[in-house]
Amino acid sequence: MLELKDLYFTVPEGGNGNAGERNIIDGINFNFEKGKFYAITGPNGSGKTTLAKLIMGINPVSQGSIVFEGKDISNLPVNERARAGIAYSFQQPARFKGITFRDLLSIATGVEEEKKLLEIISRVGICPLSFLDKEVDAKLSGGEIKKIELATTIAASPKLAIYDEPDTGIDLWTIGPMVDLLKKELACHSTTTIVVSHNRVFLEAADVILIIDKGRFVYTGNLENSLPLLADLSVCTYHDSCEGEENAGCLR
């Protein structure tokens, strides 16, 4: 249902006055099948989030193509990909002033009626009903905003849901139910699910593990066979503090 064909994301290499280029995503080919659960993992700076953002259209494709349900979406803007059925849950969700969870849910679902919104929250389950009129602002805790982000993504009932580090800021007791929720959505709606994570709980839940290193998939397959490679790549344990590709200051 989603095909990445010879996909590149290239940035200018700025160091020491040399004008060069660097491939953050370096020629990826992969076919994601409908209704499967994929976990993308790999070391810091390997290109996980960059790839997820390429699929959503947040990063522009430098070369190659992305085909979604038979249609080339490589040049579609973010909002048209959303309308085509792709939803994206950000690692660090945006905070607003004067925009509530209700507003985000309404935009994501097209529903404004109070009763239906409450039904959606109940169905999604991760946020209490009292969250509805919470402002999605700087006052929310990291866990609260992440729950809102996840709920908004699930509420949109996408064909393809991408979750970038969904457990960041979420308490340990919520991670298990969160995995169950993603699996339930997949079972009920055949939602193709891509999770970018280092968390073993998500890796264990996935049908397919994709290990990315230096912008290329170095492994695709089940968890069991991936373990030696994961140990070799010494997957970062500082992901809670990691600010993603934009932050150069790696803590390792």
Partner: protein, 306 residues
């Protein structure tokens, strides 16, 4: 009687479809158009005939008074002095606002000079909207002044909004807070084109345990310019906070000058200020939910000024 234009202006500035229930005083082109008192709210013209005195009886609960002003007379600059005396323990909502319709090349303007005496443990909510429209190119000016005195334990919540169409605005808000009193001011100003708006706020925290929170939200479109001054002066053990955020669109400019003066060792004063364009992560988020770029911008601005 209210004509169609009056009704449109009243709907925009006071959310009124027709004459309101309860007490009201509607002023049009510098003259009284309609007035109604209620059992607990008295409205009378002041001694020199330059405005009104609104008196709320002590203990009045859940009542409101509308005092909108509408202007559509070319060349008129209407100045009005209104006083509000809110009795002990009363709880009242005052809905003010000025709507200008400018149909010619002549300027039109209004200056509403309002002073509030809020009695012990009384609570007032003051909602003021300013708006101008019309096909005329005459300059539309609104220069309001609000002076507020809060007695012990009194509370005032003020929502001051300038929605659009006002070429020039110079606002002055002054407040003096007694012991245990509370003041919340939220000001929202949207300017466009070549419009300018200046807001000057002087808040004196005089009484022990008084609290004040001033929030300012500004959006500058086109080549418009806004200037925001806010001074909080603490003369006692108190708490004060200023939060001023400005979003620049197009070629708008903004100057923001929050100032804190602690003249008592137990004063706690804080401020946060930001000026900038719409954050790209906010735009990306809303676009990832299906909105176009323009829809996302509108939604963010709408929320910001809500």
């Amino acid at each position: 009687m209210l004509d169609a234009l009056d009704k449109k202006l009243l709907k925009t500035v006071a959310d009124l479809e027709d004459l309101p229930k309860g007490a009201y005083n509607i002023r049009k082109n510098g003259k009284l158009l309609h007035r109604q008192k209620s059992a607990n709210i008295n409205i009378e013209t002041n001694a020199d005939g330059t405005g009104i005195i609104v008196t709320i009886k002590p203990g009045t609960k859940n009542e409101s008074v509308h005092i909108p002003v509408i202007l559509n007379q070319a060349g008129l600059y209407d100045v009005v002095y209104n006083s509000f005396i809110i009795g002990e323990g009363a709880e009242v909502t005052i809905i003010a606002g000025c709507g200008i319709h400018c149909g010619t090349a002549d300027p039109e303007g209004h200056a509403g000079i309002h002073d509030f005496q809020v009695g012990r443990k009384a609570k007032v909510t003051y909602v003021e909207k300013h708006f101008a429209m019309g096909e005329g190119r005459g300059r539309r000016t609104l220069n309001p002044t609000t002076k507020i005195f809060l007695a012990q334990g009194a509370a005032a919540e003020m929502e001051l909004t300038q929605i659009g169409g006002v070429d020039e605005a110079d606002r002055l808000n002054e407040a003096t807070l007694g012991p245990d009193s509370l003041l919340l001011i939220t000001e929202r100003v949207l300017t466009d084109g070549e419009q300018t708006a200046v807001s000057t706020n002087n808040i004196v925290l005089q009484g022990a345990n008084s609290r004040a929170n001033m929030i300012s939200r500004s959006v500058m479109k086109g080549n418009s310019k806004q200037t925001f001054y806010a001074t909080m002066e603490a003369l006692n053990k108190c708490f004060g906070h200023i939060e001023c955020d400005a979003i620049i669109m197009d070629n708008g400019t903004n100057e923001t000058m929050p100032s804190l003066k602690a003249k008592h060792p137990d004063a706690e004063l804080t401020h946060e200020a930001s000026i900038g364009k719409i954050a790209s992560d906010q735009l990306t988020k809303l676009m990832s939910l299906g909105l176009t770029y323009d829809q996302a911008v509108n939604r963010i601005i709408q929320g910001f000024l809500k």
